[in-house]
């Protein structure tokens, strides 16, 4: 039986949702998985709803789009409200930005609040790396891809100028994931 994990990253345009999806998918390929990734964003470059969906599989994927999320990353309240009910009950996981999202208390899904934007601003001095903080927390909490693969993916797709910052954001995210997971 082919094991499939479906991940949906969501937020608003400009938060780096598409880049985070690209990095996770690329890391999955480095780990030898069959990946199908697709993005959806409004015609506007910034501010509109944005999502990136990645299907991780041990074998060929029939339908390449997400059917139900095993993991949801919600970087905005709007994204959370839209997608929180479309997560697999019991085994599912929602990671949300503590600063932006007030979670609902009636869902049968495990929630992890990550202060991603707060640590990006305070510790990393750049609010634009909250997406990578989420990626780090996700990896630590789920091991959906290996830490080595995600570092390689960052080196491949992030320009040299921002690479150290992104790798640092990844480390911080992984620390947060450990903290909240443990």
């Amino acid at each position: 039986m082919t094991e499939i994990k479906q991940v949906r990253l969501s937020g608003f345009g400009g938060q780096g949702v598409v880049l985070a999806g690209l990095l996770l998918g690329q890391a999955g390929v480095f780990d030898g998985k069959d990946i199908s990734g697709s993005n959806s964003y409004g015609a506007q470059a910034r501010g509109s709803g944005c999502k990136s969906e990645i299907v991780f599989s041990d074998g060929p994927v029939d339908f390449p789009h997400l059917t139900i999320a095993d993991i949801l990353i919600a970087m905005s309240q709007g994204a959370y409200n839209t997608y929180c009910t479309d997560v697999r009950e019991e085994s599912g996981l929602i990671l949300y930005d503590q600063g932006f999202v007030t979670p609902k208390d009636n869902l049968k899904v495990k929630h992890l609040g990550i202060p991603a934007t707060e640590v990006s601003v305070k510790r990393l001095k750049n609010r634009q790396v909250s997406n990578i903080v989420f990626v780090g927390a996700l990896i630590e909490a789920t091991r959906i891809v290996s830490p080595g693969a995600i570092r390689k993916a960052i080196s491949m797709h992030v320009s040299e100028r921002f690479r150290p910052l992104n790798l640092k954001a990844l480390r911080v995210g992984m620390e947060l994931g450990r903290e909240f997971n443990g």
Binding site: L22, G28, V29, G32, I35, G37, N39, P64, H65, T67
Partner: protein, 379 residues
């Protein structure tokens, strides 16, 4: 033999490419060294990658003023001896039709990737559709043939673009890759082999470029600058390319040959795939992205005990009528889900005696599995 194995210019391995990027790599692997195009969503990433890659492999890249100029430049480059391509979407594909007829009649190899979006007209640029299937076959006037392939994954954007070049060279005919937005923008694991199979157009010094007595009907093709006497015209022409605009025999022979050279080789051009069809009472016939939805739906319904299978059309033109007819004899019903108002369903109805149900969707979205499953449950 004009067929050979060549080392893939892209290192063997696995990659995470979008369909559009993969198509560009497939073209480079096939030996494409000329690209002329005008960017259009949702095909632009293909052009962007060609701009980078052709420079790396020593090819030529030109951004033209529009799609008419783009296809014309491709035809010119092909007659200069290059393997050439362009990519576009519906609005640009419409503009190219006149010159596609010219390419078919002058037997000019060349590849056009059409990343279909929601039409008609400018429609919804970022949304998906597959409304250009009939246009690919009938877009220009007169009787002619083209080859059109239908990829269902990023991997096949690589494989089928490469194959489109090979078929185009082998049969001296425009070949089209009828992708759609969902496939063009889908990122997937791609496996690049160390070696790829490549065809080059036949060449024979001192022979006519526009007629041949041999069975296959494909004459050798000279290029300008090789020292051959060469004239290329979209008017009816004899074996050496001289205009013959009032000789009924020459016209009938030429039109007959450019059609027969494709139709007589249908069996080697056409590719289809069977899924769970052995004992099926219902067959889904699908192509492009919708075949992914269909396979998912068919597998789910099988688990629920429904005798259902799928025939996937990898080649759309020439139409796989023989295989469709075989399937039509064995099943009671055929369902054809499409992101248009039933363009391929109409072709299928011509081939089979059984019921054909056309499931159409033209809202700019892909057909979702649950919708297809529920619809299939009712038949």
């Amino acid at each position: 033999m004009p067929f050979r194995w060549v080392k893939s210019p892209f290192p063997k391995g696995t990659y995470y490419f979008s369909g559009n990027e993969a198509a560009a790599e497939g073209a480079i692997a096939a030996g494409c060294r000329f690209y002329a195009g005008y960017p259009i969503t949702p095909s632009s990433e293909l052009m962007e990658r060609m701009a980078v890659r052709l420079k790396e492999v020593g090819g030529v890249f030109i951004q033209m003023e529009d799609e008419i100029a783009s296809i014309s430049a491709v035809i010119g480059a092909s007659w200069a001896g290059a393997k050439a391509m362009t990519a576009t979407s519906g609005p640009g594909f419409s503009l190219m039709q006149e010159s596609i007829g010219y390419a078919a009649f002058t037997e000019t190899p060349g590849v056009i990737v059409d990343v279909q979006r929601a039409g008609p007209c400018t429609g919804q640029a970022t949304k998906v559709g597959s409304g250009d299937i009939m246009q690919a076959k009938w877009g220009s006037h007169g009787d002619y043939q083209v080859i059109a392939l239908s990829p269902w994954s990023s991997q096949e954007m690589y494989d089928l673009t490469l194959r489109a070049f090979n078929l185009s060279e082998q049969y001296r005919v425009p070949a089209m890759v009828m992708a759609d937005e969902a496939i063009g923008h889908l990122r997937e694991t791609i496996r690049v082999a160390p070696k790829v199979e490549v065809w080059d157009r036949k060449k024979k010094r001192g022979t006519a470029s526009f007629d041949i007595k041999e069975e296959d009907g494909v004459p050798p093709m000279a290029a300008f600058g090789e020292g051959e006497r060469l004239s290329v015209t979209g008017s009816t022409h004899d074996a050496y390319g001289f205009r013959k605009t009032d000789d009924p025999e020459v016209h009938a022979r030429l039109v007959g040959r450019i059609n027969k050279k494709i139709l007589n080789h249908k069996r080697s051009i056409i590719e289809t795939e069977d899924y769970l069809l052995e004992d099926a009472e219902i067959a889904v016939i699908a192509y492009g992205f919708t075949a992914r939805t269909s396979l998912y739906a068919v597998k789910r319904l099988r688990k629920e005990g429904k005798n259902i299978g799928m025939l996937r059309l990898k080649t759309l033109w020439p139409f796989p009528d023989e295989r469709v007819a075989e399937v039509g004899k064995k099943v009671n019903r055929i369902m054809v889900p499409e992101m248009n108002l039933g363009q391929v369903a109409g072709e299928i109805k011509k081939c089979v005696p059984c019921d054909v149900i056309s499931l159409t969707q033209t809202n700019g979205e892909v057909i979702e599995p649950e919708f297809l499953i529920e619809t299939l449950k009712k038949i």
